[in-house]
Symmetry: C2
Subunit: 415 residues, 2 copies
């Protein structure tokens, strides 16, 4: 029953590979690049999908977040379609923005022949600008037409990208218990900037053919997000639009997983965690301007909360992130960040490893091979481990280095 999770690594898994789901995507003019990349997409389920979502914890949240949250709740976790656009966040747009988000649901629902309240909406891009509805609505009509004709057109996984350099997808499948039926989970997400923990970071869309109740789905997604999407930081900035959705078509031919317990639920939750973990790593690795993926692990802390405080402070420290960019094993910045984090912590009992090599032990520097260290730090994946003491608390975060690329992208990405 072991799942075989695969991250994209050049291969783009398709949400439409999962029984019951269809997608369509197109360029409707929200992205201005001359190549006319896709910027509007629909994910559709042939029957009512069980659905769950986790959303931004930012007090300022975008109209599509408000609408999707309401539609999931009001529909008892039953959803038929999701409309997504990139290039405009529809955040801080007042009552007009709410009307636009609802109009997107209404238009898609009418054209797809499903109740508008069973349609969700997600947007990403610039804050504070109204959506060009004269382009969005005709676009939705075209896409709904493709879906009705079973033409899985365009590239959903690319349509959700903003400053992402690569599409991010992950897939897994396993044979379920006694039934022996194959169950699939495929996920796609976008990340890159305004990415920070304490929320369902970014936009993520995950589909499965598992037969599972909305309650069990909600529990599995919450568990999965806590250690994956909520443990990613690119720049500490929590977006107004973050949304992670999972839809289950129920076509896999397994007995219903009705509650969040038991072995069938356990297998599903573990497989979902693997998919979320792969997506989270891909988000960090493709952070704006990122040269490398950094895994920050803190162990031996007084509690999980202390470990998380220290890990977050290290992972968000501009000084640590620039040191990693420069292949500099600057453990002083790591210790200093942990020290200011508020985590209970005594440096005289602490150990720091960079890329598996001890650099600091019990309050004092350790000699290490600097040439070897530079070589290790030049790789695409590096690791920082702080053993804060001998307590039970541990936490792991994913981040990326801070480079000139981040500055260039963000000093030039204009409102």
């Amino acid at each position: 029953m072991a799942s075989d999770t695969r991250g994209s690594g050049g291969v783009c898994f398709r949400l439409s590979e999962v029984p019951g789901f269809r997608t369509a995507a197109m360029h409707c003019g929200l992205k201005t690049a001359p190549a006319r990349p896709p910027d509007l997409a629909i994910l559709y389920c042939e029957q009512d999908a069980a659905a769950a979502g986790v959303f931004t914890t930012n007090a300022v949240c975008a109209a599509p977040v408000k609408v999707s949250r309401r539609h999931i709740e009001a529909g008892g976790g039953r959803v038929r379609a999701v409309v997504v656009n990139a290039g405009c966040a529809n955040a801080c747009t007042g009552d007009g923005g709410m009307a636009d988000a609802l109009a997107m649901c209404r238009c898609a629902g009418e054209r797809l022949g499903v109740p508008p309240a069973r349609v969700l909406v997600a947007s990403t891009g610039v804050i504070g600008r109204r959506l060009p509805m004269d382009r969005i609505l005709p676009g939705i009509e075209v896409l709904a037409g493709c879906i009705a004709e079973r033409k899985c057109t365009g590239d959903f996984e690319r349509a959700i990208m903003t400053t992402d350099l690569v599409p991010k997808t992950a897939a897994t499948s396993w044979r379920a218990g006694r039934s022996g039926a194959t169950v699939r989970i495929v996920g796609a997400c976008k990340g890159s900037g305004m990415i920070a923990p304490r929320m369902a970071t970014m936009l993520a869309f995950i589909v499965t053919d598992a037969r599972i109740s909305p309650a069990a789905l909600r529990s599995a997604l919450r568990d999965g997000a806590a250690d994956t999407f909520n443990a990613v930081t690119v720049d500490g900035d929590t977006s107004t639009n973050d949304t992670a959705l999972i839809l289950a078509s129920g076509l896999a031919g397994i007995p219903l997983i009705s509650a969040p317990r038991g072995p069938a639920y356990g297998s599903f939750r573990d497989a979902l965690l693997d998919v979320c973990d792969s997506l989270a790593r891909q988000i960090a690795a493709d952070g704006e301007g990122a040269g490398k993926l950094i895994t920050v692990a803190v162990g031996g802390a007084a509690s999980r909360r202390d470990a998380e405080k220290a890990a977050r402070a290290i992972a968000e420290s501009p000084l640590v992130k620039t040191a990693m960019a420069g292949c500099d094993p600057n453990w002083g910045r790591i210790i200093a960040a942990a020290g200011r984090s508020g985590a209970r912590f005594d440096e005289r009992r602490a150990t720091v490893q960079i890329c598996g090599r001890d650099v600091f032990r019990n309050g004092e520097p350790v000699e290490f091979d600097r040439k070897e260290m530079r070589r290790l730090l030049a790789r695409k994946e590096v690791s920082i481990l702080l053993m804060a003491g001998s307590g039970p608390g541990a936490f792991r975060m994913y981040t990326c280095d801070l480079t000139h690329g981040y500055i260039t992208i963000n000093a030039e990405y204009h409102t």
Copy 2:
């Protein structure tokens, strides 16, 4: 009795201008630049000075911080000298580092003929490296000799610099109440990187000839630091070595200010606040890689604590700081940062001004003159104001933009 605070603006005020104080500085080899800049200095008071200090709140604090804190307390706030070095922080250096810091006090005390427990020490620079005592101790002997011979040699204000581009000083003087005597305050500080609020950021040395008790001095420094040094952020990273010290020689010929109350104390505290404020602004303006000083003010919040949360989130947001670098009035990032800060806050009642122009009001964008805005944002000082509602809470922070210069400095400043 109005004071005439002057920031440096090209002029470097000297601590040795204040009656009772002498300084000496030299290059002893801690800084490796070919120009042999000063890196070791002594500040000396001709008689017991009343002294107070505020120190880093980082759980990992450097040996000199521990020693200075202990000496001020044990001596009842009476101090004769301060030894300072730049280039090596003497942090995370274990018992050996503590012995080094104490040896610096002992050497200076013996050569100056004062009790070693009346000598403070402050260090700044790389973490985790031991001080080269074979250079430091001979250096202290040379400097103590100069001071004994009343040769105010070298440049104290430059000796404390690390990645600072300019020395930072501020001065004020006023005529005190009935006595009519002139009282002076001169301060010098260093900042640049690993600068963040919630502590006495950086190294600051302030001297005055006011006659004032240690208790009153402590109160005035704490008040002053709260809204100035503790309201600066360059990169959110709180150092292990931050120290702000004030020494009062008592030579001004005014009646003793014995307690933190009354008009004479009020005048002193206001003058000290002006000096701290000028130094804090200079630290932000000369942050690593900074192109401009950014003042972030939040008003109308539910409480001062809410205002501070929102102001800090805005001032530390890499997305806001890169937008300012790019002269981009990206108010969406400002609202999003305030939204994730944990401050109680409703965007439908909020207003954002950039450089005095409304850009967002009551949850919706406001049209503004983009050409004029770009011109305003290109200045060396820019401002962000968030009116979060109609509450009584307000807070103001100083920060700088985030540029390619910060990356270059910190990816290349090696351990």
